[in-house]
């Protein structure tokens, strides 16, 4: 009798699927509320190599949901404690503790040797960084996240039956700031919610690795705990998804803390149209306004000197910037330009680079400013 007898018995699963799990190497990012159930069920199912990366230590307030840990584990490394627990439970699989946080320096090296990455982290910085690493390494990614009483689950970066791959940035091209969406340490959570979402994530991992059943490839499932609702959305490639770093070198230079607004850097504040226009009119040689939309996008800015430099080209061609001290970027609604401003500010720390609040659409809503749009 093997410990996998009951799943091998299952019609359509069998020895072949079990062997695929045993041969698989999976990296679980985060040993928290999502990571704990993911680790427990992947280990129980017989995934052959499971690594867990987490630099955090166990705290008393973790214990309502991080079900691997006990009171005696407080202040111990989550990754090491989880691995110790799983090794004691299952001697036939390899479990590896990576007791550090992923960052742009170590994430590519860490992920490279695994077949599948599972994101059980708790902040946007790491989520975007893990997503972008998976794109660069062409690794499939199981995504799961929670907010209060709801959760999202998806499988990214693996082709559907038409060969189409999507990733997190097709759903949310631009990272939100952490102040926009609080996380569980600020909002509270019942332990069963990450339990439920973590098990759904483990299920996606098992299905993708073994080929059993249908995955959430190019879909996102939203679960509502309070009313037991499931809502499935189909995701399509998004033309606004052009912000992920294109090379490992660019990835290493990306500051995800700044992108996700968690540093509170005041130089990244938006500027209003009123201020941008008056600054330009008073200091025409120091100030440049750049329309970063694609050339076909309307309406256009008129009566005010500016440059058209689509975002896609601006990032590769920064030669217009050195001539000016104040660089004000605008797009349709102020979202793309905020991202561009954050990225360029990092490359040109001695310049003042701002996004114009609300984008060109905003001009219609300001009396006396409509004349600037056509």
């Amino acid at each position: 009798m093997s410990r996998f007898e009951r799943q091998i018995l299952l019609t359509g699963f069998g020895e072949a699927a079990q062997q695929k799990l045993l041969n698989a190497k999976v990296l679980v990012v985060g040993a928290g509320g999502l990571g704990c159930p993911i680790l427990l069920y992947l280990a129980a199912a017989g995934v052959g190599t499971i690594a867990v990366v987490d630099g955090d230590k166990v705290a008393l307030s973790n214990l309502n949901r991080q079900v691997i840990f006990e009171e005696n584990d407080i202040n111990k490394s989550k990754a090491e404690t989880a691995v110790h627990y799983l090794k004691r439970k299952h001697k036939d699989i390899q479990v590896i503790a990576l007791p550090y946080y992923l960052n742009t320096e170590n994430s590519i090296e860490t992920m490279k040797q695994y077949d599948l990455i599972i994101d059980g982290t708790d902040n946007f910085e790491t989520r975007y960084m893990v997503n972008d690493s998976c794109i660069l390494l062409d690794k499939p990614l199981v995504f799961g996240a929670i907010y209060k009483n709801e959760g999202q689950v998806a499988l990214f970066n693996t082709p559907d039956e038409n060969g189409i791959k999507i990733n997190y940035r097709d759903v949310f091209p631009i990272p939100p700031t952490s102040s926009e969406i609080p996380n569980c340490s600020e909002t509270g959570v019942l332990g069963v919610l990450p339990g439920m979402i973590g098990i759904m994530m483990a299920t996606e991992a098992i299905k993708w690795l073994s080929g059993y059943g249908k995955t959430l490839c190019n879909k996102m499932m939203i679960y509502g705990m309070l009313d037991y609702s499931f809502y499935e959305l189909k995701i399509h490639p998004n033309t606004l998804n052009c912000h992920a770093p294109k090379t490992i070198e660019a990835f290493r230079k990306t500051d995800y803390k700044v992108l996700c607004g968690s540093t509170g850097n005041s130089s990244l504040a938006d500027i209003t149209w009123q201020k941008a226009i008056s600054k330009k009119e008073n200091n025409p040689h120091d100030v440049v306004l750049i329309d970063i939309r694609e050339l076909h996008e309307n309406p256009k800015l008129t009566r005010l000197e500016h440059i058209q430099q689509p975002l896609s080209e601006l990032m590769d061609n920064e030669r217009v910037l050195p001539n000016f001290k104040f660089i004000y970027l605008f797009c349709q609604t102020g979202v793309r330009s905020r991202y561009a401003a954050a990225t360029l500010q990092k490359r040109f720390p001695d310049k003042n680079i701002c996004s114009i609040e609300g984008g060109i659409i905003q001009l219609f809503t300001i009396e006396k400013m409509k004349e600037y749009v056509s």
């Binding site: 985060g30 928290g32 509320g33 999502l34 990571g35 994101d119 059980g120 982290t121 708790d122 902040n123 946007f124 989520r127 799961g144 996240a145 929670i146 907010y147 209060k148 709801e150 959760g151 999202q152 097709d170 759903v171 949310f172 631009i174 939100p176 952490s178 926009e180 969406i181 609080p182 996380n183 569980c184 909002t187 959570v189 990450p194 996102m220 939203i222 509502g224 809502y231 499935e232 959305l233 189909k234 995701i235 399509h236 490639p237 998004n238 033309t239 606004l240 102020g334 979202v335």
Partner: protein, 79 residues
């Protein structure tokens, strides 16, 4: 005319709008819908969200017709 376009909202959006569902009418496309939502619920100011029409996340402005179901989805970060 009856309100015939259903909007379902998730996460922090439902919290700020104080409803999970609402019905609207006479809205021709998703840009107009977003304009309407932001005017009606200024509290959303610039929370990023993804829009789905009939359970398909859209990537550009799309016309809306009677009977369509719209979902507004914010990103979640917790774990």
């Amino acid at each position: 005319m009856t309100a015939n376009i259903k909007i379902i909202v998730f996460g922090i959006l439902a919290e700020k709008m104080q409803t999970k569902e609402l019905m609207v009418e006479n809205i021709s496309d998703t840009d107009a819908l977003m304009h309407y939502i932001k005017q009606t619920y200024p509290v959303l100011n610039d929370i990023k969200m993804s829009i789905a029409v009939n359970k398909n996340i859209i990537t550009q402005n799309l016309s809306i017709k009677s009977g369509d179901e719209i979902a507004l989805l914010p990103p979640f970060s917790g774990g």
